[in-house]
Structure formats: C-alpha cells, structure tokens
C-alpha cells in the first residue's frame, strides 16, 4: 500500500531561524553586504529572497537590491509536455554587472532549474560571481551544481515530494514532505 503521510520538516519559526542563519552565512562569506544583489527564482524563491533582504537590512542596515527571474524560457524540456504553462515574470530592475549575485530558490533537486536560472542571469549582465542559496537540498542532482548556502539537507526518494509553502505571512510558512507523491520534476 502507498503511504500518504505528510511530515512537517520546518514550521514558520523553523524557516525563520534557517533564513537568519543563511543571511549570516551570506554576509560572512562576502564580508558584508557591499556589491550583493539578491535574485529569487520565481515563484518559490521570491518570498525567500525578500526575507533575506529584510534580514540584511536588519543586521547590516543596508538595502540590497532584490529581483526575480522566471526560468521558463530557459528550460530544457519546453514542448515535451504537449502543453504550455503560464509564464511568470522576470524583474531585475538594476544592473548585475560586477555584482555578487545570490540566487535564491526554495528546493534544490535535479539542478536543472538552477542551470536555467544561471543562463537567464547571464543574459541580464556579467556578474562578478553567482552564489546559490536554497532552503532545502533534497539531493538527486542531474547536473554538477551545488549550493553555497543550504538551509536544510533533506534526504528524499524520488517518489517523495518536498513542498515549500511560502505564501502569506512568514509565521505561516512551512516545509512539508509528502510521501508517496507521484514522481515530478523540480
């Protein structure tokens, strides 16, 4: 029989603590916030990158620019499904030239989304470097990609589904593991 249990990996408080630590790691590695810009991967990475931006403002008193990219037009599986999903938006209203770009996403899985996001960034300018921050790393990489900042490593099987719910107020945010969910891409 298929298990259908749902396990909470992080609740609102847990997500907040993890994001605070990630913010400190980003600031430590870059020796402050100068030249840092945040780019969330739409849709899941956007509220997370906003939260990190707020944290940086609190810790360093600096407003770092934050934007987001939609990677749909950079996917490697366009047209394979027989239908097209709705495009999301890209909004990076600042130059990323010579900046340290911190790419923020909710779940790191096959790595294909991040490959696409890096291609999207390269079309927007020539950053000094690109760093990757993810809330959850669930393994199963299909490309040689790793994150610089990982909120939580969650060993999973491919049949499981990690759901990051970051809509609404931050105290309602949570990360759940759905066992027995149908196999799905990132």
């Amino acid at each position: 029989m298929r298990k259908t249990g749902e396990k909470i990996i992080l609740d609102g408080k847990g997500v907040e603590r993890v994001l605070t630590r990630l913010t400190h790691e980003i600031l430590e590695k870059n020796r402050g916030a100068s030249d840092i810009v945040l780019v969330g991967v739409a849709l899941g990475g956007v509220p997370l990158s906003e939260a990190i931006r707020r944290n940086i403002k609190m810790i360093e008193g600096v407003d770092v620019p934050a934007g987001f990219v939609d990677i749909t037009l950079y996917r490697d599986d366009l047209g394979k499904s027989g239908y097209q999903t709705r495009l999301k938006r890209t909004e990076v209203p600042f130059s990323i030239d010579d900046k340290r770009v911190v790419l923020v996403d909710d779940v790191l899985y096959t790595g294909r989304t991040i490959r696409a996001a890096m291609d999207a960034l390269m079309d927007l300018g020539r950053p000094k470097n690109i760093q990757l921050a993810v809330l959850i790393d669930r393994g199963h990489r299909e490309l040689p990609i790793r994150a610089d900042y990982v909120g939580r490593n969650v060993p999973t099987s491919r049949t499981e589904e990690v759901k990051v719910r970051v809509e609404g107020a931050p105290e309602d945010w949570k990360v759940v593991l759905n066992e027995g969910a149908p196999e799905k891409g990132e």
Partner: protein, 307 residues
C-alpha cells in the same frame, strides 16, 4: 489553465480566458524586449516558416523578429519568388514546405479559408497571418494588447471601427476579440462596405462617422483596400475621404483621452489626416511595437503545444 491549442486560425472560437492567456504571456515577452540582450533560448531547434502568398512588410517582419528573439530559425517564403508562379497548387507548395519539417507555419493568403484548409492537411502548427477578408487574429490580439496598455481595460469601452468593414479581416478578428472581452463596438462605413449581417455580432452599425466617434474611447481606422475594390463601392477617394476620413474636427467628438489606432499601412490624407496620424494620441507605432511581443507569445505557446 494551460495552453493546449495547436493552431491559431481565428479568434471566433477563442474563449476569453485564452485571449487573456496570450496577453499575459505577451507581457512576459515584452520584458525580454527591454533587455540589452533581446533573445531567449526557448525555441532553439524549432523552425518557423513565414509562408506569405500576399504582400506584407509589417506582419512578416514582426513574425521574423519574434521568432528570432525566441531563438527559432526563421525562413521567409513569399509567393512572388515561389513556384506558385510556375503553376504549383497551394496545397502542393505547403506540403513541400512541410516536408522540410518546420515546427510552425505562419501563413497569409488572399483567399478566405485558405489557412483553415491547409491546417486540415498539414501536421505542423499553423498561425493565420491574414486570410482574405476572414480573419487576422494576431493583428486583433496586438490591438487588444495596445488598448490594454493604454487604457488598462477593454470592458465597457466604446470602440469605433471605421472604414472598409466588408473587406476587413482586421475588423472581423477585432469584433471577436474585443467583443468577447466586453467592449461596446461600433462599426462605421459607407453602406456598400458595411454588411448588415455584421449587426449579428452585437456591434452597432452606422453610416455616420460622427455618431461612431462621439464619446468613443478608441477609434480604429481601417485602410481603404484599393486592391480589393473590384467594383465601385464609393464614387471617389475624395468623397470617401470627406465622409469617412478622420480629421481633427471629427476626432474632437471622441472622449478627451481617446486614442487612434490603425493596422497600417496608412493612406495619409485618405482615411486619416496627416496631423492626426502623427499626434500624441495616435497609437499606430505602439501597435507595431506590441506586435512583436504578442507574436512571440503565440510562437512560444504553439511550440509547446500538441505536436
């Protein structure tokens, strides 16, 4: 919803949410066009063939740029240099092009229904770039996009379409498109160019341009299609211009913030006066600008569709 349509042949069978889907996709495409590098890899490896059996500069160039911005390979085929002049049938020409395995065919033809006919015999996706006096769906979608950018909405607007309604595929597609979204449509032209049965679409018909333009939010002027005038629909160009041309005095009857549109090419001094064509309330060049984003949206949507 997700997009599952294989062809864009006309807007008569489009649902309002599909029209909205195209507009929303075009908004994302417009952002790509604001970048320094105006190109995304979405349609890499796909081939788009522009198959034009009728002259066109704007639409063909627009589709060509749209395809290239999406990294598709774009090939242009026009009838003046084709085997059509050697006697090949339409279907044979299209089948030969299809044998070269394009993903999408963009077709313009002077016979109404020619594009629908080809869609039944070919297996690739097809976009109608204008068929006779039937439909010109991409023009209507870019008109809608332009109106939405300027006015923020379509529902409840009074939109007047003035000119040669009889021969106008732009008018027909716009009736479907704008009508489905709740615009109040007025059609205006000389009685000989204004078929009575158009009233069935819910539009109001009039032979008086003042009545059509009065309190309008948008005035769409149509080109007098001299190439389609096989018999005398009006006595002279000069008389047509006097009775149905848009000038300052008549446009003053429209709402204060009304805008003027025209699918082009314009006959200056015939359907629209020089000063109005170039005034700040003329969106004629905005329409051309919107065209690329809207056509990128359609190419993207069809490239992922049911192959």
């Amino acid at each position: 919803m997700d997009w599952r349509r294989k062809h864009v042949l006309g807007l008569s069978d489009f649902r309002p949410e599909e029209i909205e889907f195209v507009v929303d996709t075009a908004r994302s495409m417009e952002e790509v066009l604001t970048r320094d590098i105006k190109k995304v890899p979405a349609l890499r490896g796909k081939t788009v063939v522009n198959l034009f059996f009728e002259p066109s500069t704007r639409t063909r160039t627009s589709f060509e740029i749209a395809g290239k911005r999406l990294s598709a390979d774009v090939v242009n085929f026009s009838s003046s240099v084709s085997s059509q002049s050697k006697g090949e049938t339409l279907l044979d020409t299209a089948r030969n092009i299809e044998a070269m395995r394009p993903s999408i065919l963009v077709i313009r033809h002077n016979a109404s229904g020619a594009v629908q006919f080809l869609s039944r015999h070919l297996s690739c996706s097809i976009i109608n770039a204008g068929d006779g006096s039937n439909e010109h769906p991409t023009q209507a979608l870019l008109d809608l996009y332009t109106i939405l950018k300027s006015k923020g909405k379509v529902a409840g607007l009074k939109i007047a379409i003035v000119g040669d309604i009889l021969h106008s595929r732009v008018a027909r597609s716009n009736l479907h498109c704008l009508g489905k979204l709740g615009a109040t449509l007025w059609l205006c032209g000389p009685a000989t160019l204004l078929p009575r049965e158009m009233a069935r679409t819910g539009a109001t018909l009039t032979n008086d341009i003042r009545e059509a333009v009065r309190d309008a939010d948008v005035v769409i002027m149509l080109r007098i299609q001299l190439e389609r005038q096989k018999s005398a629909y009006f006595p002279s160009i000069r008389e047509y211009s006097l009775k149905y041309g848009l000038n300052k005095d008549i446009f003053a009857l429209a709402k204060e913030d009304a805008v003027i549109m025209h699918p082009g090419p314009i006959n200056r001094g015939v359907e629209i006066s020089n000063d109005l064509a170039d005034c700040s309330r003329s969106l004629i060049l905005d329409q051309v600008n919107s065209g690329v984003a809207v056509r990128m949206a359609l190419l993207y949507l069809l490239a992922g569709g049911a192959q």
